[in-house]
Symmetry: C2
């Protein structure tokens, strides 16, 4: 099957679109065909971040942006088809992550129930209607319903992309929030360890926006951090946040490490210069990633290579700090290991859509904390049946339902 | 197939649950088995109404209530199974309308797009996970994506329930908002006329709540309205609202006729006594229904019988006003025509879920204004394949996909 994955992370700068070929087999093979980035129009990023940062945003915003982002996700899918010179009619499925607006995986009492929740928007009905392609979306809610964190969901795809018989490998995704998937050499999926390590770029982006008074919304090439000095005292205080001590499964979001956390840092260390603030926040990301490895990965397995993806991978200051802390493991380019770095997250949701259509669970309970493996997502039908785009597909017989 | 429909209307007082048997045939047969009302816990109604009334409610509320309402919808489904003495494993599908939080079908400019939107909550992943039953939800967004109002969606089910070879029939649903489906004698589905006529009980409920200072949230038996006098002047002004002149397709919601509209009425007629206010609002509902018939239905067909459903059907003052204005058409009980009144709306969403699972469109473009018939809703997989609960089902071969 040809499947398009669509992803917009907590940084909210645009839609990553990856066209992949999936299947057959168990686990199914996954091959990258083409990928691209579809940037959001100017001003939309701030509008999304405002909505995604508590207490920001109204139900009206959720309703309107859900439909509007659906249009943009659809355009991103059509764009990747056009660039790959493929007619949308020949694409079987879309897997769309959507844009996370809230992530509230810690259960709280509601009436007689204990309820956890997560909210991704980017209406799949709009995507299916504009592209004609059957679309799977809202992957996280089912894992949360099954008692999980709803995150991370990409480990099973990382496993298919990067597992190796001889080498222990980790995939480190430095998006707004950072998450890691660790795969020991010769592992089965049950041996994967995966969790959110803490902030990726979210604090760096917010701080860069503030200290430049909105002139930039990220620290390009780590230029600000490069000329600053890390405040050991502030960093030490930051590392006392209870999230880092918590054993996996665990996930986090802008609710924990966003603008209001940065306000706290500013109150704690009001005299830091802009450059020192950026340097300290960059060290905080590197240190918390290293802490995650030390506490929760390295006691269980040897890691030889760490493949870095996400915007943070393009920040040389952050990379240098990580290389020092993760040695002797080597930082490597995912492209060299067979899957382009910028397509990993979007490709993962294409893979998850394939699993869902075939009635196969997509979550790794050890990573999310779910009580069981579940079929993720909601399916919105397109104009043609997935698998029916090719003459002889063996996949359609059992499609869209678990084997009974 | 055995299918459960779940519905909570704009009145937000609880979940209507209807267990029906659907199929085979085209249109498929629809038989009522059992239905019940699962009331919301105390205080939840006000919380929902607050969220559903602009500018009320935050994205956090949307996220949390989406999950919590999912739990309640799931309980309503399990409750109807228990009462009907049926194991959930023997139910093929759930069709869940959800709770409307915003309905914004009038397109507005967003970047390069013209975007309309609608938002229903009550997470289907929670329903599927708790019940084990494959769940279809979010029916309205696809029709909106196809250029429609996303409402009314029940006409195709009303047609299957009530069409008659000799008699022209209308189904009048007096929920928070009132909608009508008119089916000429011996009609094909293409001849259905259906639209929202305006407010049903929404203004009556809100006014009763206000004038009793929260002691009641509806005018039980029309007791307040019964002792009041209709203010002809206020009514005349109310009827000048542009919604009533607009030809179908059209739909409306609490955004147009909710608390802020009632504020407007109060400003226009500040001296009305509580009873006179209720009498005038009751006449407003009756008059706007009659206006809908006169302008958009009776010029096209003869209507012999009007089947009334929804909470407003239990208000004798409103019934009397309607009977006078709709004569010579007779007001009849839906139960007498073969389908219990309280199960009509929930039963309709069960029917729509059946159509979706079989890849068949559920909207009537003439009613919603959509550019084409579309397969509605998003499918979340349960533990067993719909149609596989019985030994010999012919339905599963083509399930979940349009015929290509």
């Amino acid at each position: 099957m040809k499947v398009i994955g669509l992803m917009s992370g907590t940084s909210a700068d645009g839609v990553d679109a990856a066209l992949v070929e999936v299947g057959p087999g168990n686990p199914p093979a996954l091959k990258h065909i083409y990928s691209t980035v579809f940037p959001y129009p100017p001003d939309l990023r701030q509008r999304i971040l405002q909505l995604a940062t508590p207490p920001g945003g109204s139900a009206t915003d959720v309703c309107r942006l859900n439909a509007y982002l659906g249009e943009l996700f659809a355009q991103a899918a059509l764009d990747v088809c056009r660039r790959a010179r493929l007619a949308p009619e020949t694409v079987d499925l879309i897997g769309s992550h959507g844009q996370t607006i809230r992530h509230l995986p810690i259960p709280r009492k509601e009436g007689d129930f204990t309820v956890a929740s997560t909210l991704q928007i980017g209406e799949p009905a709009v995507i299916a209607e504009r592209t004609g392609i059957t679309t799977v979306a809202n992957f996280r809610t089912r894992d949360v319903a099954a008692g999980g964190q709803g995150a991370p969901l990409t480990p099973i795809a990382h496993y298919v992309m990067f597992r190796d018989a001889q080498k222990g490998r980790a995939v480190l995704n430095l998006g707004g929030i950072a998450n890691v998937t660790a795969i020991p050499a010769g592992a089965s999926p049950a041996q994967i360890v995966a969790f959110d390590t803490g902030p990726g770029n979210v604090l760096l982006d917010e701080a860069a926006f503030r200290v430049t008074r909105g002139k930039t919304d990220y620290d390009a090439n780590g230029e600000l951090a490069a000329v600053g000095r890390v405040s050991a005292e502030t960093l030490k205080w930051m590392l006392t946040h209870p999230f880092f001590k918590k054993a996996p499964p665990k996930s986090t979001g802008r609710e924990d490490f966003g603008p209001s956390y940065l306000d706290e840092v500013n109150r704690k260390a009001p005299s830091l210069s802009p450059a020192d603030l950026l340097a300290t926040l960059t060290a905080f990301t590197a240190e918390t990633v290293a802490l995650g490895f030390r506490e929760f990965i390295l006691p269980k397995m040897k890691i030889d290579e760490v493949a870095i993806t996400g915007g943070g991978g393009r920040n040389p200051v952050l990379r240098k700090m990580l290389a020092e802390r993760l040695a002797p493991a080597a930082l490597v380019e995912p492209d060299a290991l067979g899957f382009p770095g910028r397509a990993i997250e979007a490709g993962a949701f294409a893979f998850l859509a394939y699993l869902t259509w075939h009635g196969r669970p997509g979550n790794v309970p050890a990573a999310t904390g779910a009580s069981r493996p579940v079929v993720l997502g909601a399916i919105v039908m397109g104009n043609h049946r997935p698998g029916a785009t090719k003459a002889a597909s063996t996949s359609s017989a059992g499609a869209a339902a678990p084997k009974t």
